[in-house]
Subunit: 309 residues, 2 copies
């Protein structure tokens, strides 16, 4: 059993358009890097090797809160010293808080002889998400832990996560540097959905899952429409409609808002197309005078993992 | 090109619990039997070789309406004489009208050299459903034409049907002899769905499709819950809750209301279990003093088809 591990924890795209709150996938990049050291003294220390000014009090840090949930299930006296280098910008909409929470519990589990299942780790990591957004949700945590494509089928009465193989697609993500608070993004959501729209939404969810699992990527493209959440959130993201238009013209299968935004993701059949689509996405925000970051990569087959001891 | 064909058109289970209005599957039995003869004189004649008193005026008969939609796309002067022997009781909730409509257009297509695609045939057959229920819907038509498991991803702007392989499961269906009008069954539906419930519903739809496609039948069982439609329709079907309880105790994976009811379906891993589940379902209605029919069979890989010329 090592007494120190280095962990990479990936960015993730939650929702995938129609799959609001339930579907997600892991990105090959960017990722957070965490160094965890086991200590004999109980307790946690958190240090951030980055400039984002995130809290380091374990009760208010996403990694700290996740580790506290894990430690509550560990009978022996043990603690962790954690150093986090954020590769994923907070507030970007690609699961920054989920990555740190997932990376922390995956690292701690390795330092404890891997006694917990991935489902248990996801449950612990959700305590980190609760610190970040006020709600225990798993749509970023699930792909950050399991990798590939994930479905959070249920939170209650028991957490039920379905891990599906990573489709051989490439993702292009643009992160326009505008601020959207996750709480705000939830407040614009409709309280109820007209039945006809709800039916169209779950038809698309079914189509998306079927398209991924049967490698029918034209179907994936057709199913990437969101009749419920995107109409409510689109006003928060200037350029969204134009970004989609240009991405589709550049060959993207389809896409939408990543998580609660402001990032926008597009799925693509190959790397060449993904790079062209990223350029198209960037061009929109360049013209709007909004700074942006681009990420291009495959869907990652693995979630957070120990890369060195 | 034959000038007369004999067609079998299967019963179907629409909705599959959470997949209201979009998912469906074909049953190996029961089925309608149709004899179609091509006539040089334009026009349609419909005869019913059964005792259900269904209309034979082509404009008001489901097979007639479907054939009229098909003939509107045929330039040459041609007509059909159709004899229908219903194997599927009207009003049972296992796609009786869809079977007759699907069988009619599949037979007519064979008599015309198979010039239409299955998607076009589904579109014609929906005209039959409109006669039966007042609405153009495809949730029974799709499996009645394509067989196996089907998803109606969209009706507009273009009909989009996804045909998926038949899972190797067995279906047990009980048809309690109570009357539920499709229009009534739609009137009890909620106009809108609270967002949280809608999310749980599409999580289950995703789980159901994933379970079928990855042969994870425990997941299929967990995903067979319906938070939206069954609560509204359950009061129309006495014995439903007890039927589910006994079916699960007898080994069923899960199930629910078939279509708009009153039939109840249960999915099962094998034939032996399906027969035990059917007996359990029947016992509930026997105790309630309600006559019932049972159907047990595999999910059919094929939809309506010509069985003899």
């Amino acid at each position: 059993m090592p007494d120190s591990v280095l962990v990479h924890a990936p960015a993730t795209v939650a929702n995938l358009g129609c799959g609001f709150d339930v579907l997600g996938l892991a990105l090959a990049a960017p990722y957070d890097t965490l160094r965890l050291r086991r200590t004999d003294a109980p307790g946690l220390t958190i240090a951030h090797l980055d400039d984002y000014g995130l809290p380091t009090d374990p009760a208010h840090n996403v990694a700290g809160a996740a580790l506290r949930a894990l430690l509550a299930r560990v009978p022996e006296p043990v603690g962790f010293a954690v150093e986090i280098r954020k590769g994923i910008r907070p507030g970007s909409g690609v699961g920054s808080s989920a990555a740190s929470a997932a990376g922390a519990v995956v690292g701690a589990n390795a330092l404890l002889g891997n006694r917990f299942s991935r489902l248990e780790l996801a449950d612990f990591a959700m305590a980190g998400e609760a610190v970040a957004s006020g709600a225990r949700h798993a749509d970023n945590i699930a792909p950050a832990i399991f990798g590939g494509l994930t479905l959070v089928r249920a939170l209650e009465p028991a957490l039920d996560i379905v891990a599906l193989p990573a489709p051989p697609l490439w993702v292009a993500v643009v992160h326009p540097q505008i601020e959207i608070n996750t709480r705000d993004a939830r407040q614009v959501l409709p309280a109820a959905v007209p039945l006809g729209l709800a039916v169209r939404q779950w038809a698309n969810v079914a189509g998306l899952v079927a398209g991924f699992l049967t490698a029918d990527f034209a179907l994936v493209g057709r199913a990437l429409e969101d009749h419920v959440v995107e109409p409510a959130r689109a006003p928060l993201i200037p350029g969204l409609a134009e970004a989609r238009r240009r991405a589709l013209a550049a060959g993207a299968l389809g896409g939408g808002i990543s998580g609660s935004g402001p990032s926008i993701f597009m799925l693509n059949r190959d790397g060449e197309t993904a790079h062209a689509v990223a350029a198209a996405l960037g061009s929109v925000f360049a013209e709007l005078g909004i700074a942006y970051q681009l990420h291009v990569g495959r869907i990652a087959g693995e979630g957070a993992r120990v890369v060195a001891e």
